[in-house]
Amino acid sequence: MAGIKIENLCKIYPGGVQAVTDINLDIADGEFIVLVGPSGCGKSTLLRMVAGLETITSGTLKIGDKVVNDLEPADRDIAMVFQNYALYPHMTVYNNLAYGLKNRGFAKADIDTRVRQAAKMLEIEQFLDRKPRALSGGQRQRVAMGRALVREPAAFLLDEPLSNLDAKLRVQMRVEIKHLQRRLATTSLYVTHDQLEAMTLGDRLVVLNGGRIEQVGSPMDVYRRPETLFVASFIGSPAMNMASIDLLRDRGQVEALDRFGKGTGLLGMRPDDMHLMRPDAPHISLSGRLELFEPAGAESHLYLSVEGAAEPYVMRVNGQPGLQEGQSIDFYVPTGSLHPFDPTTGKRTD
């Protein structure tokens, strides 16, 4: 059990590509940290640097209180769950789980206890004598996790472990992973590109873009107060709508705009902060034409084209209001729910 301290970590590939720049992160013991961002943002590279599978160009990495920059993966007391599981195909599940312990010289009895314990926790006991090819995707994923569990390491590193599962299984496994982590209280570093996974799993989120940290915070903090344009558009689905301040000015909504700081050029509106009924609190009013009506079960998404806006705005409503495509819709956004940004710096202005 240990925390992870990342100080000014950088990774530059030979050839000059800067994969990861100036990462500073302080992970407490037992915390579940999710690294989230689009493809190529450096999240996997960062994880692999912590694992020891990528070298660190500059900066310090500490696991516990030990500087581990130059240690082999096997010596860092970490366990990893890979995206495509990386199970040894010619070994039984039992041997897959036991391999890491065997290499570290554990006694046979110890190995047996640990393997069976992990198998029980993950409900894969009946598979111990089978080979990976006889298992389904979800079962293989559990074996991959079991391999990490038996090691009882200082930290778990998980590299998009759920991406290869179908949607239903993914939701199921998400819940299990969260429960497991709470039970074991092991520091965990989890990489995903799925912002919903990130929101539901992490104690804290680290949003990455282009090799740099955009924002670190609890899921709700990041959701309610995105610090940069990137985080605002990445977290939350459907994505936040961006309105330019001129659009509102043109519609005479001037008073509402006074509260925003200098340099504000864009205002973000979350689809669920847009209402069909006029709210009591100070608000702005807009109207648009309903281009597309998307029923999504318990809710519906309305795609509205607003004059002066380049892209349609997406609005979330409960249920299925009887609306016609092509009709004009009035909607209201409380000014307290607007997120102001400076388009040149990309940063929040309040």
């Binding site: 694992a51 020891g52 599978l53 082999e72 096997a74 990386a86 040894y88 010619h90 391999y99 290499n103």
Partner: protein
């Protein structure tokens, strides 16, 4: 697909049966000839149906050889061939898989240089360097020895390339997981890589065994002591040596014995063999 093929498939079968006949004919003839007494060949045409002397001829061939032409008993030559073929096969497989492992899983100075040196061997079959290679082997005192018969032939690159190609298809995570699991390079090689390579090794075994067994030019050059003759080169002495017409019944018996082991290997491991061929050459 719906098609009318009334005469088509009959025609196909005919062609194939004819083809098989052409292909099988020579060995058929050899087997037949090996079952006849010597006198049959002094008059008329070679027979097309089996004769009565099968057991006799084979026994003679195996035990006496053909002393006039200086060929030792076939059984000795068969043994020599077996040892040579196995030495070449095992030798080739071992050094190739180790080299491929080094080239794929390590980064070190001169890696590319070594790769090209190995690649060069593809362009230097023994036939283009016979005299100087003979000189080297003679200088090293390796004439008339199993070492001399096998070692100069085991370094060629085809197996190395096949293993390299195969290793490149193994997912990266396999090795990373092993590393995280505390396995060093040789442990990884023994516990993970080798078991995964078993099919490739088996397929290559077939091809290399045949290659080793059928070696002709090289054993011809470096063995002057009949005790080291191998069967495939030994046959030549029975056919072209001497002024008299060769003793065809014995020659054919020898031919059948010489061709039998590789043919059996192919027949029993056909699928592996085909896989090995089509993958080596990619």
């Amino acid at each position: 697909m719906v098609e009318s093929r009334r005469w088509g498939s009959l025609f196909s079968h005919l062609i194939l049966i004819l083809g098989v006949a052409i292909v099988v004919f020579p060995i058929y003839v050899a087997i037949i000839a090996s079952t006849h007494p010597p006198g049959t060949f002094l008059r008329g045409v070679m027979p097309l149906l089996p004769g009565p002397n099968a057991i006799e001829n084979y026994r003679t061939a195996l035990t006496e050889g053909r002393s006039q032409a200086g060929a030792p008993p076939i059984s000795l030559m068969l043994t020599n061939s077996l040892i040579m073929a196995l030495a070449i096969t095992i030798g080739k497989l071992s050094i190739s898989i180790l080299s491929a492992f080094a080239i794929v899983y390590f980064r070190f100075p001169f890696r590319i240089f070594f790769f090209w040196i190995i690649f060069l061997t593809l362009m230097l079959p023994v036939e283009v360097r016979i005299v100087p290679t003979f000189q080297v082997v003679a200088d090293l005192g390796m004439l008339n020895s199993f070492a001399g018969l096998s070692i100069p032939l085991i370094a060629s690159a085809t197996a190395t390339f096949l293993f390299r190609q195969f290793f490149m298809t193994i997912p990266e995570e396999m090795m990373e997981a092993a590393r995280v699991d505390g396995a060093g390079p040789m442990k990884f090689f023994k516990d993970i890589l080798l078991p995964l390579s078993v099919t490739n090794i088996a397929a290559l075994f077939v091809i290399m065994f045949i290659y080793g067994w059928n070696q002709y030019l090289w054993p011809l050059l470096i063995t002057t002591d009949p005790d080291y003759y191998t069967i495939v080169m030994g046959i030549q002495r029975m056919v072209t040596g001497g002024d008299s017409e060769p003793l065809w019944h014995l020659v054919m018996a020898t031919v059948v014995l010489a061709a039998l082991p590789p043919v059996l290997v192919i027949l029993f491991m056909q699928r592996l063999f085909v896989k090995g061929l089509t993958e080596t050459e990619k």
